[in-house]
């Protein structure tokens, strides 16, 4: 699953025939001048200005401004662009028209194990979460298309009446097409409104998630994916994401500022058990990381450097299960190079390293790691006979087995 920002998300919605408000995405406030000459709506409508970044609670942070005229919008954009919020710099804003409307509705489509679900209610905005039990849904088996009768029934069950019903049916069937054809995993329109001027159902805001793995069959996906956890990716995270797309296997890295325990484990499965173990022992995580699928040593080295650069860490957990085909000696040589660089940069002061691993060339890999003792590292190396997460217990208690 991958999140698409509002601008490109609106683009996908409108591609499948659903009405969206006029909008533009800009990187400099001055662009609004020439855009306004070309687009009457910028001059004639009240405007909304929002930071176009994956930041949670934009409203609270003052990154959403509503009811502005063009000059006010330009000023708001100018103020937001370049502003540093939660360690990120805002580089894009989206400006859209305010759509005059009365009632607000909610509609969503999501991928499920057997096909998809459509969710609908005649309440929109924040009321939805409070009245979740009133949301009506139908399941659509993979390969099927919801019939007009099914959708009509859904609309009626969700409380829609009269002339609104066929409009909702039409919108729902388009939303479903969008989910199906765009490899969508979750599309939420909230609020969905009836535009006063035209009587047309319009998607005022959209949450758009698509399947990143399907990118190969969507040549028009010219957007990059946004983070899904309430803040944009940091530069360090972006650097590892970039490496991840280039290499065989994978490397992953998410920073969690303030933690005391850094993770450098192998394996998508084992890494989560290591994260659990750190928290169960009362530690705090400084990051989530993993490498798997026998990535090249230089990629593991780059990941190691990022992990060692985490501020305020006391220990690094180099854990891993018994690998099937990841070469322990080779991947460890990347980690060792990363450690040496970090030490030369003075980053390993007061940081202990805890290693546990098995797999192809485990003896050579573990022996090379143990050699670091002689270079002044505070390193503790265990083999397959020490259970997977026991090193976390030792590391946090500071006692050896």
């Amino acid at each position: 699953m991958a999140k698409v920002l509002e601008g490109p998300g609106m683009g996908l919605v409108s591609k499948w025939g659903m009405a969206v408000p006029h909008y533009v995405v800009i990187t400099e406030a001055e662009q609004l001048g020439s855009l306004a000459q070309a687009n009457a709506w910028l001059r004639e409508s009240k405007l909304v200005v929002k930071a176009h970044e994956a930041i949670g609670s934009r409203m609270k942070l003052g990154l959403v401004k509503v009811g502005l005229n063009l000059d006010e919008a330009r000023a708001a954009a100018k103020e937001m662009l370049g502003k540093a919020v939660a360690e990120v710099t805002i580089s894009q804003v989206i400006i859209s028209e305010m759509v005059k409307h009365e009632a607000e509705f909610y509609i969503a489509a999501q991928s499920t194990r057997d096909g998809a679900e459509l969710l609908l209610t005649n309440m929109g905005g924040i009321e939805v979460e409070e009245n979740w039990e009133k949301v009506k849904k139908i399941a659509i088996t993979l390969g099927d298309t919801p019939s007009s009768d099914q959708l009509t029934q859904l609309a009626k069950d969700a409380g829609f009446e009269g002339a609104l019903v066929p409009k909702v049916v039409d919108f729902a069937s388009k939303l479903f097409q969008c989910l199906e054809q765009e490899d969508g995993t979750y599309l939420e329109i909230n609020p969905l409104v009836l535009r006063k001027s035209t009587g047309e159902l319009t998607a005022l805001d959209a949450v758009t998630m698509v399947d990143a793995d399907a990118r190969f069959r969507h040549p028009d996906w010219n957007f990059s994916f946004a983070s899904e956890f309430g803040r944009p990716y940091s530069d360090n995270e972006k650097a590892i994401l970039e490496i991840d797309t280039q290499v065989k296997g994978s490397v992953k890295f998410i920073e969690i500022p303030g933690g005391d325990t850094a993770l450098l484990p192998a394996g998508g499965g084992a890494s989560v058990y290591y994260s659990d173990a750190v928290l169960a022992m009362g530690g705090t995580l400084a990051n989530y990381s993993e490498y798997s699928g026998d990535p090249p040593d230089w990629a593991v080295e780059a990941l190691t450097e990022k992990v060692c650069s985490l501020k305020g860490i006391k220990r690094i957990i180099v854990g891993g299960a018994i690998a099937n085909f990841t070469n322990v000696k080779k991947t460890f040589s990347g980690i060792i190079k990363g450690f040496r660089k970090a030490k030369a940069d003075g980053k390993m002061e007061g940081v202990s390293i805890w290693v546990r691993r098995g797999g192809p060339f485990e003896k050579e890999g573990l022996a090379a790691m143990k050699e670091l003792e002689n270079e002044g590292f505070d390193i503790h190396v265990y083999d397959r006979y020490t259970p997977l997460t026991d090193i976390v217990d030792y590391a946090i208690k500071g006692v050896e087995a």
Partner: protein, 607 residues
């Protein structure tokens, strides 16, 4: 017994190099367990019609490659299982092909990163056809002592350590590949090992799920307990709990679920597996799943670390109830045969060498030229003449010697486009011949009349000096026994039109003050022969020969100096023609003197 796969399973592997490397791992397992190799065919269109050689024990087995699954199953009707190693964009079509085959009952997809929609369609199709679809992103399936499908189980040492050559009592189902291996290891340490281990993959929508496999394990009398490793996201663990709770089950279920960390980490964060993600309203949390399993009566250790003791306790229970006996020790795993390299290294065998080499040793990190590491020679400022000295005469040249060798190479590097070697190289280049072949053609010209007289000259000058002959004696001997003296005489150069290269080389060598008995003798010979005829001068071949013999180079090495030097020129001519885009050249007819008979009638064939 085991589930899903046995020693009778026969496999087609769909995909290229990754599939081949899996086949090699699978062959290792067959050797370990003393069972026949289970891969019958590959399907890989670019390799169709060829065979892939797979080492199985001390044999090489040829496995044929086909274009389609149907062709493979037609040729090998015993195939009942497919492993998919095809890239994400083509994996769907390939898997559909396998699912459509009436012979194939199990398809396990190893491919990672296939779109969710494709995975869902494949699962629904497999259910419709009553087949098992395992994966995507599966590490494989392993039935101890019976079959290995994929690289699950890792290296050979690990297979042995985990006692995978024989059946134990524990089934294993995991989403994670690394953890499947870890659990097999734990089961062998804390209990009697595994029956079958299945990696179902960590995608959002895996094919066959936990409860499908639990049902199979329930029906396998050898399996007494199942270890299930889950993680947050989706509802497969809840499904497993519901299955376990539905009625009294024969098997024990031991389960752990990862993802408690999600309670403290930012919502929406991505973990290593695509499916490891709670729902938008917190569905599928690790805590909820663990509680569901516990409520269903499963054994749920608080942490992953608790698994070993839990498995141990379960095994003791099983033994106490008499349901299983401790495994017989008779079936021992078989060691992997050593390669010749390993056996030689371990001192197990002596192999009589086929050849002897005394100049260069490449067995270490870098080649040693007569014992000296190339990089160290470079670091200490040595030059190409020193390398020639080491490889041609096994010694480090002195600075003066190296300078003389360098001058010889410079002086003989090229002699224009008209001489035999260059001309042939150029003609070949113009005919579109590649560098190596064109230069080799020029090289073929080197012989008694072009550049190949160095060794001959060296041989006879040193014969004369060794036998203390005087010039007259030498010339008489040569006339009687050999013919013209190699190294004497030139087509165009003469006393009045001396060869500047010879003059410069001789005067430099004399200036160094090194002893030059052969050069001195050669010059005496020249003084005599030029009296007879003005072109019978000491030519460049003869000069090089005399000097190089004076430097102590073996006579056998001498032609090498001309060949080496002139290669520089020939390569230059080839590049020159190539860059000019020269066209094919042919001789003008007026340059050939046609002396063959005039045209005449062909007589009828005699019967």
């Amino acid at each position: 017994m085991s589930i899903l796969t046995t020693k009778n399973t026969r496999v087609v592997i769909q995909g290229g190099p990754a599939g081949e490397s899996a086949a090699r791992r699978m062959a290792e397992f067959c050797h370990l367990s003393r069972i026949p190799f289970n891969v019958a065919a590959f399907v890989f269109p670019p390799g169709a019609g060829k065979t892939v050689e797979i080492q199985c024990g001390s044999e090489l087995i040829s496995v044929p490659t086909y274009k389609t699954v149907a062709e493979a199953t037609d040729a090998h009707p015993e195939i009942d299982t497919s492993l998919v190693y095809i890239g994400p964009s083509r994996a769907y079509a390939g898997t559909m092909e396998a699912l459509s085959s009436p012979n194939i009952k199990l398809v396990s997809m190893i491919t990672e990163g296939i779109p969710e929609r494709d995975a869902k369609k494949l699962r629904i199709e497999s259910e419709r056809r009553g087949k098992t679809f395992n994966g995507p992103s599966s590490i494989g399936i392993l039935s101890a002592g019976e079959a290995r499908l994929g690289v699950i189980g890792g290296s050979y040492d690990n297979l042995v350590l985990c006692k995978l050559h024989r059946q134990g009592s524990f089934g294993v189902i995991t989403k994670s590949g690394g953890l499947s291996n870890e659990i097999m290891w734990i089961c062998s340490q804390f209990a009697d090992g595994i029956t079958t281990a299945i990696g179902i993959g960590g995608d959002t929508y895996p094919g066959s799920d936990f409860s499908t496999y639990l049902e199979m394990f329930e029906n396998d009398p050898q399996t007494k307990a199942v270890v299930m490793v889950g993680e947050m996201g989706g509802d497969l663990e809840e499904g497993a709990a519901a299955w376990y709770a539905a009625k009294k089950r024969r098997i024990k279920l031991i389960g752990v679920v990862s993802g408690y960390c999600q309670e403290e980490l930012p919502k929406g964060m991505k973990f290593g597996h695509a499916g490891a993600k709670e729902g938008r309203h917190g569905e599928g949390s690790a805590r909820a799943k663990s509680e569901a399993l516990q409520a269903a009566g499963a054994i749920v250790p608080a942490t992953f670390g608790g698994l070993g003791p839990a498995i141990k306790a379960a095994y003791e229970d099983i033994l106490a109830s008499g349901e299983a006996k401790a495994p017989a020790t008779s079936a021992e795993p078989q060691n992997l045969p050593k390669t010749i390299d390993e056996a030689v290294k371990d001192g197990d065998v002596f192999a009589e060498p086929l050849l002897k080499s005394s100049i260069c040793d490449d067995r270490g990190e870098e080649p040693l030229y007569s014992g000296y590491a190339a990089s160290e020679l470079i670091d200490k400022g040595y030059q190409i003449p020193h390398v020639i000295g080491l490889l041609w005469d096994k010694r480090l040249l002195s600075p003066v010697e190296a300078e003389i060798v360098k001058r010889i190479v410079i002086l003989s590097a090229d002699h224009g486009p008209c001489v035999s070697g260059a001309l042939v190289t150029i003609i070949a280049a113009c005919a579109g011949i590649n560098m190596a072949q064109a230069v080799a053609a020029g090289m073929i010209m080197i012989g008694p009349r072009f550049g190949g007289a160095v060794t001959g000259a060296g041989q006879w000058f040193s014969y004369a000096v060794k036998n203390k002959m005087d010039v007259d004696e030498f010339l008489a001997y040569m006339k009687k026994n050999v013919g013209p003296v190699p190294g004497i005489g030139h087509r165009v150069k003469s006393l009045r039109n001396p060869d500047k290269r010879v003059k410069s080389l001789v005067s430099y060598v004399k200036s160094t003050g090194i002893p030059t008995p052969h050069l001195d003798f050669a010059l005496q010979v020249e003084a005599r022969t030029t009296v007879k005829k003005d072109t019978l001068i000491l030519n460049v071949d003869g000069t090089m020969a005399a000097i190089l013999v004076d430097l102590g180079f073996p006579v056998d090495a001498l032609n090498g100096f001309f060949i080496l030097s002139r290669t520089i020129g020939m390569i230059g001519h080839w590049i020159d023609q190539k860059q000019q885009g020269s066209r094919l050249v042919r001789l003008f007819k007026y340059l050939a003197n046609y002396v063959s008979p005039k045209k005449r009638e062909v007589p009828p064939l005699d019967s």
